[in-house]
Symmetry: D2
Subunit: 337 residues, 4 copies
């Protein structure tokens, strides 16, 4: 922590701040310039509330000089985290697509979509059985019945399953059926839930909150890592901005930033980011070009009658064509898909 004193801070004020910092457990380096005195407070206290110092008399500004996350930090672990699940390695050179419907709706629906995923050469089937909905009047998912259906369809085609968990008491049930737990954007700071997921031995895909800074997102990843689960996948899904012609603003610059700040893999979800099917292909292409380690894509045979988010689902044929285009872009930047 670096503490900048006011230009006109008195010697007494400076001494009091130094004493206070020592009481907080820091060692002090003092540097007196002509105009300003700067105090370096040395000592690792990742959760220290810097406002405690900024309100002291004579203090002008306070800066935390360590990132608040450690385990998620690339300076803590230089090599990329590669998450291994059966024949899939996520976070390496190969780009993976997780595709499937927003909600699991029926045996036929998920079976047909699993077939499409397999046909595209992809390995991970997505589908929600428990749905977080902003209205109590909306479809809330098929529950365990849905979990059974997606597991069965995935097994039929040799796919992995990713599905969303919304609350702690669903973890045990979902564990029986899924390969990857998905945490939704609105639960990114549901600390009770993510803490618990730190005790699981299956990978967690953590979506970025609607208005979350990358630092806050990495702090939530830290919760999971800290509790023992090293397999965290980050997923950029769009942030809230003033723009009204898109559902969210897809923050693709998060991809190079996360790759610089952290060793964790990051995938991108253009379906939720844009909210409209015709914007999904250009944004999927852009995400691959920007360096995403994977994509999450919603597909549906009959989007007009989908129980949720139909307007952002791609038709199977559009999806299959898109995958081919993405393969060319991946190759252009030296990766494989």
């Amino acid at each position: 922590m670096v503490v900048i004193m006011e230009n006109n801070a008195s010697d007494e004020q400076i001494e009091l701040v130094k004493k206070q910092l020592e009481d907080f457990g820091f060692q002090i380096h003092e540097s007196r310039g002509v105009q300003k005195t700067i105090l370096g407070a040395i000592g690792v206290q990742p959760d220290f509330d810097t406002r405690k110092v900024s309100i002291l008399d004579g203090v002008s500004d306070v800066y935390r000089v360590t990132n608040p996350y450690k385990l998620a930090n690339r300076s803590f672990k230089e090599d990329d985290t590669i998450i291994k699940m059966k024949d899939v390695e996520l976070g390496g050179n190969k780009i993976h697509i997780m595709a499937g419907p927003c909600s699991i709706e029926s045996e036929d629906q998920i079976y047909r979509l699993a077939e499409v995923v397999a046909k595209s050469g992809m390995k991970i089937l997505r589908g929600g059985a428990f749905k977080p909905r902003s209205s109590p009047y909306s479809f809330q998912g098929l529950g365990e019945e849905g979990l059974k259906l997606i597991r069965k369809a995935a097994d039929e085609f040799g796919l992995l399953v990713i599905t969303e968990v919304m609350q702690i008491d669903q973890i045990e049930l979902i564990y029986k059926y899924t390969d990857i737990f998905q945490v939704g954007a609105r639960n990114m700071q549901n600390f009770a839930l993510i803490k618990e997921l730190g005790n699981i031995d299956k990978p967690i895909m953590l979506k970025r909150g609607l208005s979350a800074q990358i630092e806050e997102w990495l702090m939530s990843a830290e919760y999971i890592l800290y509790n023992g689960n090293k397999d965290v996948i980050l997923c950029e899904r769009g942030i809230r901005t003033f723009e009204k012609y898109t559902r969210n603003t897809f923050d693709l610059s998060a991809i190079p930033v996360v790759h610089k700040k952290s060793h964790l893999p990051i995938i991108a979800d253009p379906s939720h980011a844009t909210g409209y099917r015709d914007q999904v292909p250009p944004m999927a292409r852009a995400a691959v070009a920007a360096g995403a380690d994977g994509l999450m894509l919603e597909i549906h045979h009959d989007p007009a009658n989908a129980k949720s988010d139909g307007p952002q689902a791609l038709l199977p044929e559009t999806y299959l064509k898109l995958v081919e285009e993405l393969r060319i872009i991946a190759k252009a930047i030296g990766r494989e898909l």
Copy 2:
């Protein structure tokens, strides 16, 4: 729902849209102008995803014409909701202040602060036993021990207790000690939790999410009301903006807006909104002048050593002086405090 067709939409497109709307269960009113055809789709479907129509060929724009919330809507219940707890009526002419520490830290701490609250003539003691913290390295609260301490201190001075619930499996425990359940900003859209709180027979204070629109906030209130609990208190605590000189931006215009759109009482929390103690008194005055039904204020005898949020806590003497000033402002606008 109102559907605006493109200027050059063909008759066939218009007929297909009409058919689709009927399939979705709506009745149609058609209005053909020289340039535009407008379709009114009549029928109450509060959770209908309007994007299903906006992606149809020939459709220009779609507008939902009913608010998505019903039970929280003033047009559903014209009279103000007044929440009665012992000798307190929240939502009426009298303004109530909920005061106390951010975290319950010790028997002595909470006892002394309860004494201050009682001395100010206020009736509700706040204090957290389970703390949602953005870092896994931060103080997470005293748990049940804290609940016991706040209950005892409140009883000693005849006060009501408000404390925060973070997860479903804490509800039963907290129920034994509290009078009001607080839901934090980061849990405003923890739908699993708020649904469950709809089954409780004690009031719920729902804080506005960090980037939540008022409509989304009222939708979360709707979840609680829909599940049977009619006693919901809204709490404005600042929203995230680009401003960096304050912790959050205190959105006081939410007060008249909520009073217009809903019958639920709304209180304001200038401590969390501003994050710095010297900004709390002017913002507390402004909140009362803007028509808040109550305030939530953090106080502490020794803010420099508070376990959380000390920099925004008022000293007891500042708090007592502020309450006197607020009484004059309340009177100036025809209310009592």
Copy 3:
């Protein structure tokens, strides 16, 4: 400026950064901890782009430790700036209201509204002759004819005039008629214009930009002060947020923050902030309670037919009643209106 080196920065990297800083004209204070080396770069360069250092090898973070504004800074001038115009002192204990129509529309209109302003005991008449409109199809103002009308009406009732300037070549003309130049939110960073207004010997009221941070706003004030005009009035008029039930979000916490950071007076404009007349009185009350040095209020005899912003204009009788209420609140906080 404080430069934090990476934990694993090499001695060579540290030496190169130090050399670079010296080349940029800074003096260096070095402080080596066990984990981290911190370099203090001493020397006043208010416009230095800190990214120049942050991209150097081995650098972790860089913090500017001086505010980029000087003349607008309270640490530069401790006493409140009080702007004197005839019998008005803005920035002192007395709160002033600038009232009038959004646009000057006719001799009769501005005369009748000037009469209302005078009747309320206020001293400053507002009205636009040149209007910044987001659509080229909207009413663009009466131009010089409007300036003549507002001057005449103001003189009739002994009032001062405030009116908006949009471009440099209007300054000379407007100077002949106005007492205060208003700079609109969309021109807050029209640097060419505000630089030129620094050469004028009449006060400038600078509205906060729609998404401006307070620091950027003070930097724009700095442009005016730097060019020689010491009489700058700041005006909070709402910032853009995600909220859709209000036109803008009225950031009242800007008032205590500006009073702390700067010596310049700050007034508040609840008409533009909220956009709807029924929200203006509660927000006007809140602004006075929060410590504003003045208010800007739009009034109109026939809002339904106003040429611009009618929906946010108060009727004269509502305005007169509001002024009385504000007097009581002003008194409650020890000020006069």
Copy 4:
């Protein structure tokens, strides 16, 4: 415009609203449902302030059903606007890169960078002579001397010139030297300036404002088109969000959205969007993959000593390598660069 009446609106209220709408010059279509009455107000008034109706008694909601921009609207002109300048066609299948320094600094600097641009096969040289700076203490550009230097360097290598105009009285001067006028983000709603640029017979590149919605951006384009200049190029340069690890958030979804809503070409500026040179290549790749008609890229031989924005400038060799990569991505999506 569509007007939704309150559920309990009286017949009298409905009649009054209808009368008012007729007075405003609209024709009325009425549609009475069981719960709601909906009024369609027919008539083209692009600048009508819908709040005038929303404040009438009994009115619940009002929706404008026409886009406020006409000339910029794809429904007004279906074919892509292609801007022809010498041997360049911007907006067609070929993607163009505008490259050069942030500020023109010296004859040698701009000559060497023009050489790099030519070597890359690109046709447009960028460089600022008048710089909008948020601090009055920053370098403000070389002025006419800079214009002469960039023109000479461009002519030497057969390049077109793009340079920024900040105020009306610079237009005549800049006209003598430039091929394209650039309008900066902070001037997007400087209506006086953009109106004047509508009278020029050279193309205008209009950058998106820091917090502008796409609709507002197209409205500013409308100002230029409306005044007679049909050659408008849009430039996405990042919007302000809460994220602090990037300078701005590059909104790439603006590209497919603009292509859908408008016929105008859109280019992307990853240098300003990200602010850091190491993020520029991935974001440039993503912009091409997303369908941008061109890129604006900052380059510099000696970024550490650039007079402005050095940290986001690419070194010539990085730039040349990037152009090769972009050619492959362009080809992968069926375009040429």
